[in-house]
Structures are given as structure tokens and as C-alpha cells.
């Protein structure tokens, strides 16, 4: 049974449909990457999975259990973590407090998970007393991912984790994503840096106009000349 299974998902904002039947499935140990042109519905799909958008048709299953249209706090309890693209930290809270908020529903976890998150992201340990708003973009992204990891999710949704980062930080974040995945967390992420992202992807989903255009393994999509021509800039 797939960890996360979205079938024929339709949805949008205020009557305007953005998703017109998206299918997407990842296994527990996989990294799934959603790529596609602007306005294809990539982030919208991620929001639909996390209950931030009404799914009008189709279904989303987490370990076989329907979860579409559940409120986000219920999804956190069920083992889902979400890192938004922007405004993904609490700027006036310290790094440590940001991480503590991630484990808000599991206060027993805080101590154990804090040391694990510091292992994943060593720079955060030194900066734990600094307000998250004062950190650089890359470190802020680490705080954001760390916050989501604090609740020990089975699946982590990342919305463009490398947007606006320098190439150095971009590679670092991709490395971390691989490590987190190797530690047993399924990943579903939206990425603009399609080539690098597909290179670490087990599954790739190329969306266009709210529908799957291509669905395959990351390596197969990278090798596909059609995908390369239309979506990866040649």
C-alpha cells in the first residue's frame, strides 16, 4: 500500500478549479518530486494534500485512510508535516522555540527530537537562541524543515525548499532532504530547480494545467527527451 496516494484530485479556490484530476503516489521510503511550468498547480496540489484547499472530487489516502479535507492540525496528528514556501518560520521566536512549536502536539517528543534535528542541521544548534527572523535564507529553510520534523512525520511536504537560495545552500538542502528520507521519512516536494530535484527523486510528477503530463521515476523523466524539451529547458 502506498504511503500517500492521491487519486483524480480536483480542487481550487472559490469555484475556480486549478487541479483537474491529479494522480500521485509515493511509497514510505521514497522521494516524490512535483515539477512543471508556472501555474500548473504544483503548490496547489501540495496544499490540497495538507488540507489547506478544498478537494472537490477525487480522494487522498494516507496509508489507505482517506484524509482529504481534514484540517491541518488533524493531519499533523496523523503523521504529516508541511513546510510552506514563504513565511515558514516564526521570526520573533528563537530557533529552539520554533522547533518546539513543531512538536506542539507531541510535547513528550521535544527533547529527543531536538537532538535529532540538531544532528540533521548542525548549524541550528549554535544558533538555537537566536530569533529565526535573523537567520540567512538557507538556515531559515533548515529551521522550517526542522520544525516540521519535530512532530516525527511519516511524510514531509516541502513547497519549493530551495527557492531563492544560493547554489551552495541549494545543494545543501537537497543533501538534507536525502538524509531525512534515508532516516525513514517519505518526501513529497515541489521544485523549480527541476533537474537537480529529479536527480534525487524516486518518483517524478510533471504537472501542466492541473493534470499529470508525465509520471515516472526521476531518472526516467530526466532521460525522456519530451520532458527535457518541454519542461527542463532543453
Amino acid at each position: 500500500m502506498p504511503l500517500l496516494d492521491a487519486r483524480d484530485v480536483h480542487g481550487g479556490y472559490g469555484g475556480m478549479n486549478i487541479l483537474n484530476g491529479v494522480d500521485m503516489a509515493i511509497e514510505a521510503d521514497e522521494i516524490g518530486v512535483i515539477v512543471g511550468p508556472n501555474g500548473a498547480g504544483k503548490s496547489t496540489m501540495l496544499k490540497a494534500v495538507f488540507g489547506l484547499l478544498r478537494v472537490s472530487q477525487g480522494e487522498i489516502l494516507l496509508r489507505g485512510e482517506p484524509i482529504h479535507n481534514l484540517p491541518p492540525n488533524r493531519l499533523v496528528q496523523k503523521g504529516m508535516g508541511f513546510v510552506p514556501q514563504e513565511y515558514n518560520v516564526f521570526p520573533s521566536l528563537s530557533v529552539k522555540e520554533n522547533l518546539q512549536m513543531g512538536a506542539y502536539l507531541k510535547p513528550g517528543n521535544v527533547k529527543r527530537m531536538l537532538s535529532r534535528v540538531y544532528e540533521f542541521f548542525p548549524p541550528l544548534k549554535d544558533k538555537r537562541h537566536q530569533p529565526a527572523g535573523e537567520l540567512s535564507g538557507g538556515q531559515r529553510q533548515m529551521v522550517a524543515m526542522g520544525r516540521a520534523l519535530m512532530a516525527e512525520p511519516e511524510v514531509l511536504l516541502l513547497d519549493e525548499p530551495t527557492a531563492g537560495l544560493s547554489p551552495r545552500y541549494m545543494n545543501e538542502i537537497f543533501e538534507r532532504v536525502k538524509e531525512v528520507n534515508a532516516a525513514g521519512v517519505g518526501i513529497l516536494m515541489v521544485e523549480q530547480n527541476a533537474k537537480q530535484a529529479l536527480a534525487i527523486a524516486d518518483k517524478g510528477f510533471v504537472l501542466a494545467a492541473g493534470q499529470n503530463r508525465f509520471t515516472d521515476t526521476g531518472a526516467a523523466l530526466l532521460a525522456d527527451p519530451d520532458v527535457a524539451k518541454s519542461f527542463l529547458g532543453g
Binding site: N73, V76, Q77, Y87
Partner: protein, 334 residues
């Protein structure tokens, strides 16, 4: 030296009293703004309501304090705080929550809170009448006159019993609030929600709980501030009109949404008021004889007359909004 004691009595003590009350009131306003993003105009009346509850309970059981050796109103304060917190949560459920659910603009909430102001004030008037009432129903208000052990000083430092309680309670509230916001799980969640409500929700924080906790805190603090003010002067149903402006000025001076800023802002406004109406001529009086003849000392050297005291917070408010709209502590802009 007598002049200095006069300064202590009229500025240091009076300014701290006003500052404490404004600070506790402004913290409530700022907390509500940081969580719900609207200016809660009914806050002054929540303060009056708290004081009214104390008055009611003290009138019902005037002897309660004698057994413990403290003024009865003070015994009744915790109960009044709980009742005011309940009122605050009730008002939110009845009036503000449905509006929030509709996703109205903040200005609609502000107007709604103005309506709540008039309702609360009418309600209190209905039961308490329009006149002033002393909260000291059966107790005696102690006035301490502390003579200074300095030769030639005839004027004592004067401080009243409610003022001492006021300082103690202000200090306790501020320290308790600090530990709540910086150490407790709920307090941190409140700050998180103030920073970024969407992310708070995505972290699994139940924002409805945080809203309720905010009202409990704001209501409890309002009851403290209202009671302390009524103890120091007298209880009046229209106290809020004299409180609302200084409290909002304090919250804005400190930086809206910033609890520590609100405390600082409260004292800034409190001292600004007392300094503005203080007769500075008194401090110059010892040098009267050494002044040149063409510079005779006028009788009153205050910046503004006492009757214009209410103008001072207005002036501060406008000045801050023009020159530094984010306040001293860089809060959110209203």
C-alpha cells in the same frame, strides 16, 4: 529639599500609579491585537466591569477581608478577574467570533467593539448608577506619611495603601506574564500565532484555544487594572473614557503587538501626563532670590493645565504615528 519631596509625591508616585494602570491595560490591548489583529475599543469597559465586580462582591461581603487583615476589595479581586475573563470569552463567542468566521475586515471588528463598549457601559450604569462609589466599603484607606530623615524637610512622602498594592500587583503581573510568554508551551504558542497564524495552524496549534486564552488573559489583566484604579480614586461607570486613549497611546508607543513595549509605553504615557501638568515653578522656587529682577517667577509653570491632561496622550499618539509608526519596540503598524 521640600520641593524635591513635592516632586516625588506629584510626579514619581503619581506617574508610577498612572503608568502601572496604563501598562496593564495596554498589555491586554496589545495581546488582543497580536492574536486577532484588531483594536479592541471595549477594553476600557472590561476594566470597569472588573472593578464593578469587585464593588459588587465587596458590598455583598464587606467583612470578608477583616478576618485576613487585608482590604476586602483585594480578596475579591481574583474572583472578579475570573468573572471578567468569563465575560471576555463570552463577548468573543457572541460578537467577535461570528464576525471572524465571516472573515470581515478589522475595521468591522473595531466598530463591533465600540458597540460592546456602549453595551457594557449601559449595563454597568444600570446596576451601579452614574455616580462615583468607593471600593472601600467597610475598610479604611490607609495613608502613609513617611517623613524623610533629612534636616529642614518638613513635607513627608505620601503614599496610600492602594498605591502600594498597585505597585506590588503590577510587578507580579508583569513577571508572571513574562514567564508565561517565554517559558510555557501555551505562551510560546501565543507568540507563534502572533508571528504567523497559518504556520501555527500547520504546526498543529489549535488557534481557537489560543484566542480563548488571550481573552482570559486580557480579561484578567483588565480586572486588575480597573480595580487598582478604582481603589486609588473611586469607581465610576464612565472610567473607561478616561482610560481608553492613554491605553491605546501606550500600546502604540510601545509597538503594537509587543507586550513588553506596552508596559514601557504605559509608563511613558503615565509619566508624560504627570510631567506635563506638574508645576515646574516649584522646583525653581529655592532659586527665586538669586534670579535677576527682570525674570520674576510666575505662579504656575506647568506645560498644560491639569484640565488638559487628557490631551497629552493624544499628542504622544499623533507624534508617534507621524515620526515612528512602529513604536519604540518595532511592533506591527495598525
Amino acid at each position: 529639599m521640600n520641593e524635591l519631596v513635592f516632586f516625588i509625591n506629584n510626579v514619581v508616585i503619581a506617574g508610577s500609579v498612572a503608568g502601572s494602570i496604563y501598562a496593564i491595560g495596554a498589555v491586554g490591548v496589545t495581546l488582543i491585537f497580536s492574536i486577532m489583529r484588531f483594536a479592541h475599543f471595549a477594553h476600557g469597559d472590561m476594566m470597569t466591569f472588573g472593578a464593578f465586580m469587585v464593588l459588587l462582591l465587596t458590598t455583598l461581603f464587606p467583612q470578608a477581608g477583616a478576618a485576613l487583615g487585608v482590604p476586602t476589595p483585594l480578596i475579591m479581586l481574583p474572583l472578579a478577574m475570573a468573572l471578567t475573563a468569563l465575560l471576555a470569552v463570552g463577548i468573543d463567542r457572541t460578537f467577535y467570533k461570528p464576525l471572524r468566521a465571516h472573515g470581515v475586515k478589522p475595521i468591522v471588528m473595531v466598530i463591533a467593539s465600540l458597540g460592546v463598549t456602549l453595551m457594557l457601559q449601559g449595563l454597568i450604569r444600570l446596576f451601579a448608577g452614574t455616580g462615583g462609589e468607593s471600593l472601600y466599603v467597610d475598610d479604611r484607606k490607609e495613608i502613609f506619611r513617611i517623613p524623610l530623615p533629612i534636616e529642614g524637610v518638613r513635607v513627608p512622602v505620601v503614599i496610600t495603601e492602594p498605591q502600594l498594592y498597585l505597585f506590588a500587583l503590577t510587578l507580579m503581573s508583569v513577571v508572571a506574564l513574562h514567564f508565561f510568554l517565554s517559558r510555557s508551551r501555551l505562551g510560546k504558542a501565543m507568540r507563534a500565532m502572533s508571528d504567523n497564524p497559518d504556520l501555527a495552524r500547520a504546526s498543529g496549534i489549535n488557534t481557537n484555544t489560543i484566542v480563548a486564552v488571550t481573552w482570559v488573559l486580557a480579561g484578567g489583566l483588565a480586572a486588575i487594572a480597573g480595580t487598582l484604579l478604582s481603589l486609588d480614586v473611586t469607581f465610576k461607570p464612565d472610567l473607561s473614557f478616561f482610560l481608553l486613549l492613554p491605553i491605546f497611546a501606550a500600546a502604540i508607543v510601545g509597538g503594537v503587538g509587543h507586550p513588553y513595549g506596552a508596559i514601557a509605553g504605559g509608563f511613558v504615557v503615565g509619566f508624560a501626563e504627570t510631567l506635563a501638568v506638574f508645576n515646574w515653578g516649584i522646583l525653581l522656587r529655592p532659586f527665586r532670590d538669586s534670579l535677576p529682577e527682570w525674570l520674576s517667577l510666575p505662579g504656575n509653570l506647568a506645560f498644560v493645565g491639569t484640565e488638559y491632561k487628557i490631551v497629552v496622550p493624544f499628542f504622544i499618539l499623533v507624534a508617534i504615528l507621524v515620526w515612528r509608526p512602529t513604536g519604540i519596540f518595532k511592533g506591527k503598524v495598525i
